[in-house]
Amino acid sequence: MSFERELVVRAQAGDGAAQEELVRQFSPMVFRLISRFFRYREDVEDLAQDVFFKVFTRINQVRPDENFPGWLRRVTINTCYDELRKTRRRNAAFEIYGPLQESEPVAPSADPERDDFGVARVALEALDPKLKIPLILKEVEELSVAEIAKTMGITETNVKVRLFRGRKKLAANLAKLGPTAK
């Protein structure tokens, strides 16, 4: 039995030391994945804690033949997806019910988001999480279509469709945001 497998078995039996060791070993991976979707350290750490809470409450679902890092990646991506959806709903509600925007738009040069890769970032942030997650997993994490499908629990065809739509939408967002994007 591998050391990792042994840790999982011990953690399933409620061994606190094994659980802490799992956090120590896998937190860099969890942090790296969450960093792809969230830009502030506090958000990343909060979500990483949520991920490990879910891991320890559901650790009995890990089958003996299951690849633990793959399972953990799935839990992490699902947690990010839920949070991105919540953030998107909050932002949409704020746009409808929040304070009125100033009628004069801010000059592009005064907006820090428009500097350097700011436009690309804004265009990517505007994507639906369903399209954004596969795109980031493919372009930044360099996962294969099969790995993305397994991580997200969808078919490979669905991943390809989402990647195609994501790229198309991203190009449209970039075009909308202005000539600096090109």
Partner: protein, 118 residues
């Protein structure tokens, strides 16, 4: 995908946060605190947010059903069991069939007069 986006994705690869050395201890403390909280708050807090309205609706329906059973009279009002347990014998029939004396001498007299009249 244009080259600017490719550069952007390349830059994104380098943007990674690392956990600090005390992160595992903080996680374990938070996990323990949340499990304790769940135990204290019982079933409602432990339940997924999406499942709560379903659970609440099921509870309301169950209580409504029980209330109907308790407060609304069920027809027929006099079923076979009630008919068996409760008697509808008149006092004179009671006297004849059970042999128990009527509660008052006036009633006894009245029964005798009725029998004599017949």
């Amino acid at each position: 995908m244009n080259s600017r986006m490719d550069e952007f994705f390349k830059q994104e690869k380098s943007r990674v946060f690392e956990p600090d050395p005390y992160f595992p201890q903080r996680v374990m403390a938070r996990v323990a605190a949340r499990l304790q909280e769940q135990r204290e708050n019982g079933i409602w807090e432990g339940m997924k947010a999406g499942a709560r309205p379903v659970f609440a609706l099921a509870l309301v329906l169950l209580l409504a059903f029980l209330a109907v059973q308790l407060f609304v009279p069920v027809l027929p009002p006099r079923g076979p069991i009630e008919a068996f347990l409760s008697t509808d014998q008149s006092p004179d029939e009671q006297l004849i069939y059970t042999g128990v004396d009527p509660s008052s001498p006036e009633l006894e007299q009245m029964i005798i007069i009725t029998e004599d009249g017949q």
